[in-house]
């Protein structure tokens, strides 16, 4: 410590290269600290040692008691949706009756082995058994495919008015088959008419044949019953038995479904357990012990400190995952549970893939945990926050265990569910490329978002030195007026939209059948829900946050030039979007082969035309409001009003516009039951356009005009398509739009963008709120 040190700053000239090194050191320190903590070691080592033997004992018991259920050859599962003109209870009663009859025939045919005739050498294919009616049982067996009998199929009732409809279930592969029945009065002799719905793939078609045969069995049994009732002997003339030659092949393993889904769930839950303690300790714990402030006083970027902590937590999570994986496999080996898993589980490749998935999941969950624990002031507080999160994460866990659920549609992007399903598919060796890819990418995106969120929260002075954190304080209305709604309140609204969306779907599904027949009522209710979720809720929150609507939602009158730009853009974006969608289709064709693309395209056209057919039943005025005016107004109110303006206060302009556009785009994807990835890009791009317009004009009104024009044109083009096409003003359903249209659209849209770009933001009335937005540019 020399005198001349005092004037010389200690800053190192090689600062940039050293930052990386210092962060590595930091991560090492965090890890060293965590690993020396005996509590970490408990979860890390002791848990797998104790948990798996216990679990395996439970499994053994479970499996033995269920052995009867799983015995028999492995059969592919058959998911059948049914619908008809009676209630579920009545339908189930009738179906059970059919099941009894089928069972009767099945038992009869398997029990009649070798009684009268026993040929020495029977070729299996030609082997036939006859029963009283003269119908060959062989005709009724589908040995090659081995479908389950009627009474072991997985049934799901779909109400006739449900959306998606029964046909849609079958079409998208949610179900293998559908049955639509028309049951006459059940007291009468005949049960009713059954229509089997299948899609055009070999599995579904074969399953349909199988189902038809099962129904035939019911008829057969019924015939026998009646003959018996009438006292007619039904002894067969010839009874044929069977004899198998050669060694008996060991019985196939029973269905792997429950355990294959259970393995990833247990591993994931254990990985969570491993990450929880270090996550709390390195954030809230450090804060409680007072070392966090010391660390914050060191010349390290805050994000860097967080990333180092993330690395430490993730490393512990990976260790936990690895130890658990080993523990689980050793247990499986010791208890010989692998026979229940249908083989594949000991495949080294499967293990590695599952481990990689656990790392991915660990990264996501570690980031999520850090975001939550960074919020807490003490260890206890962090624990209180984490308990609901862990319980909530059981939800997706159990959901992924549900039979019949597959990695597609929305499931591919639901965090945790997607990884669990992917892991299950890995074990069952049923990985499908595209949804798996979507699952991995979406989890990576969530991880990144969670880290960003954690970085925002971690060590921010409002958290580091906040008040008492009481509930009253949290919900107290601020005394100061806010120019825009605080970001936290906006995020609250965004989070609330999710359950509200479900609520509205549930409500619409619950509407009595008489009212759903009238589609205008349905669309009216949709409009009401949109208003409630996107307009009323944000308005209430803004009121509570002491924010004026004018500033918080950007309600001031824009300059004429922006309205003009909005009209130009509103009129010209649709051919661009259509071209873009077609481009996406073409890209899909290149990626996955033209056959797949055609299937997909045909499906898309069919669903769209179904929707359009429904829309055409309603008066154009209702359509105008339900699809154009109300969504435009409400979505602009929330996305470009509340969300964008809140974001702008804390972020740079383009970041805010991009985030709001992505949220807007994802919302449009998720509102569909199928992942409409083709909607993501156009919706997001329109979101960017709307955001830019809203930012430049400092008002949502140009956006409302653009949005309602664009929506209106698209929906009315579909509405009047037959008429328009008949005058050759618009291409038919199956044709693509002319290139010239896209070019004209591009030219007009460009004019709109340029108008917006060069209109400038100055000289606007009510500059005060504008100043806030521009200060956002600096921040």
């Amino acid at each position: 410590m020399s005198q001349n040190d005092n004037t010389k700053p200690n800053g190192n000239p090689k600062k940039p290269t050293r930052t990386g090194f210092r962060l590595t050191r930091l991560a090492q320190k965090e890890l060293k600290e965590t690993l020396r903590d005996r509590r970490t070691i408990v979860t890390l080592v002791l848990m797998p040692l104790l948990v798996y033997p216990t679990l395996s004992l439970i499994f053994k018991t479970f499996l033995l008691s269920n052995a009867a259920l799983f015995s028999g050859a492995e059969v592919p599962e058959l998911r059948v949706v049914y619908s008809g003109n009676v209630s579920k209870a009545e339908a189930d009663f009738v179906f059970a009756k059919i099941g009894e009859r089928v069972k009767f025939i099945d038992e009869k045919s398997s029990g009649s082995e070798g009684t009268l005739l026993q040929p020495d050498n029977l070729d299996e294919e030609d082997d036939s058994q006859s029963i009283g009616s003269g119908l060959r049982v062989d005709d009724l067996q589908s040995e090659e495919v081995g479908f389950p009998p009627w009474y072991l199929m997985r049934w799901q009732f779909i109400p006739p008015s449900a959306n998606p409809s029964l046909a849609e279930y079958v079409e998208v592969g949610e179900a293998d088959l559908g049955i639509i029945f028309d049951l006459n009065d059940p007291t009468r002799k005949r049960l009713g008419d059954f229509t089997i719905v299948s899609r055009q793939d070999p599995f579904s078609l074969a399953a349909a044949d199988h189902l038809a045969k099962e129904l035939e069995k019911a008829n057969l049994a019924d015939r026998e019953f009646r003959l018996q009732m009438a006292g007619i002997s039904i002894e067969p003339v010839v009874n044929v038995g069977r004899k198998l030659i050669g060694e008996t092949v060991a019985q196939e393993a029973p269905s792997a479904f429950p355990l294959a889904s259970l393995v990833p769930l247990i591993l994931v839950l254990m990985t969570i357990t491993g990450a929880v303690y270090p996550a709390i300790d390195l954030t809230a714990g450090e804060r409680e012990r007072g070392t966090l402030e010391t660390l914050m006083a060191a010349p390290l970027p805050r994000v860097g400190i967080l990333v180092a902590k993330f690395i430490a937590v993730l490393t512990v999570a990976i260790f936990t995952a690895l130890l658990n994986l080993i523990g689980m496999f050793v247990t499986i080996w010791v208890f010989q549970l692998d026979q229940q898993f249908g083989g594949g589980i000991f495949d080294f490749r499967v293990m590695v893939q599952i481990f990689l998935l656990l790392i991915l999941f660990g990264a996501f969950f570690s980031a999520l945990l850090l975001a939550v624990t960074s919020f807490a002031k003490s260890f206890k507080e962090a624990q209180v926050y984490l308990i609901p999160i862990i319980i909530l994460s059981l939800g997706p866990g159990l959901m992924a265990m549900a039979p019949g659920i597959s990695l597609d549609g929305v499931n591919a992007v639901v965090p945790m569910v997607n990884i669990l399903l992917l892991a299950r598919d890995v074990i069952n060796n049923e990985v499908i490329l595209v949804p798996s890819f979507v699952a991995v990418i979406s989890t990576l995106v969530y991880t990144y978002l969670a880290i960003c969120l954690a970085a925002r929260i971690f060590g921010s002075d409002s958290i580091l030195y906040s008040g008492d954190g009481s509930l009253v304080e949290m919900f107290q209305r601020p005394t100061r007026a806010n120019v825009v709604v605080p970001l936290a309140a906006t995020l609250f609204c965004l989070v609330m939209l999710f359950p509200l969306n479900f609520l509205s779907i549930g409500f619409l599904g619950r509407l009595p059948a008489e009212t759903t027949a009238d589609l205008s009522f349905r669309y009216g209710m949709m409009g009401v829900f949109t208003c409630l979720a996107f307009m009323v809720l944000p308005a209430l929150v803004a009121r509570h946050q002491n924010t004026s609507f004018r500033g918080g939602f950007g309600l001031k009158r824009p300059r004429i030039v922006f309205l003009l730009a909005a009209v130009l853009l509103g009129l010209s974006l649709w051919p661009l979007v259509m071209t873009m969608t077609e481009g996406w289709h073409a890209a899909y064709g290149i990626l996955f082969g033209s056959e797949k693309q055609e299937q997909w395209h045909a499906k898309l056209i069919e669903t769209t035309s179904e929707q359009v057919a429904r829309i055409r039943m309603v008066s154009p005025l209702v359509i105008l409001f339900a699809f154009s005016v109300i969504p435009a107004l409400c979505e602009e109110w929330f996305f470009r009003g509340m969300l964008l303006r809140s974001l702008l206060k804390w972020n740079s302009v383009w970041k805010s516009i991009l985030i709001s556009a992505l949220v807007f785009g994802s919302f449009h994807v998720l509102s569909n039951s199928v992942i409409a990835l083709d909607r993501l890009l156009p919706s997001t791009l329109i979101g960017v356009m709307l955001g830019y317009l809203a930012f430049k004009s400092d008002s949502i009104w140009p956006g409302v005009i653009l949005h309602s024009l664009n929506n209106g044109i698209v929906v009315f083009l579909a509405y009047y398509q037959p008429a328009l096409s008949s005058y050759s003003w618009f291409p038919g359903e199956d044709e693509s739009i002319p290139v010239v249209w896209a070019l004209v659209g591009l030219a007009v849209a460009t004019t709109g963008v340029l108008l917006t770009r060069f209109a400038g933001t100055s000289g606007l009335p009510g500059k005060s709120s504008n100043a806030t937005i521009e200060s956002g540019e600096v921040l």
């Binding site: 005092n6 700053p9 010391t294 006083a297 060191a298």
Partner: protein, 251 residues
Amino acid sequence: MISIQHLSKTFYAGRREIRAAADVSFDVAPGEVYGLLGPNGAGKTTMMRMILGLLKPDKGYAEIAGHRSDHQPDEVKRQVGFVSAAAGVYQWLTGREMLGFFGEIYGLSESEVETRIKELSAILDLSGFIDQGCATLSTGQKQRLSLARALIHDPPVMILDEPTLGLDVIGSQVIFNYIDILRERDKSIILCTHRLEQAQRVCNRFGLMHKGKKVLTGSLEDLQKQTGKSDLVEMFIDLIENDNVAPIQQV
């Protein structure tokens, strides 16, 4: 070395409004110990956090060695050694590991760290426990280790927030003696403490804060002249009892 310009900060806890700092300015030169004193809740800790850039001021700024803490927080942090009453130690690391870690964080090389640890453990008498896990240390040992941690990069500026909290007479004596040494080595020091007798001895100048405002400032003699009291303890009692002291004019 240290220049504080009109720092202001108000906290909002729901409906309550707490003024932690109201337009506070002062300078600290090298070789000077500035005693930032005041009763609990006067806003001293908030001041220190703002100086260090841990807390964003509503108004004003702090400048250390020409770097503003709101513009170049990392540069400022590099110049400062910070000890606070709440400063904890990493319980699963040994003292040596912790010092080594912070040395490297502040950009010292391994050999530099080693020399510094040797120096500091001689002056602050750490050698008896430096290789022990921090969880086993006594309060005094922890506080000495904290001071060593803050000094590891030999910073020109020290910010000490109640460095003797919870220490016995001997323990705090070690710290105050060391502050004397630091002053002799031309460090600029801001010291917050409730040990007024020692403060009286060790500080060159004082700033007395109350309810976020700086109410008295100057050397001990200046204060004695302004208040007519002979020592800091009396001035303190006076300050708290006469709640409505008008803030002094900034010169």
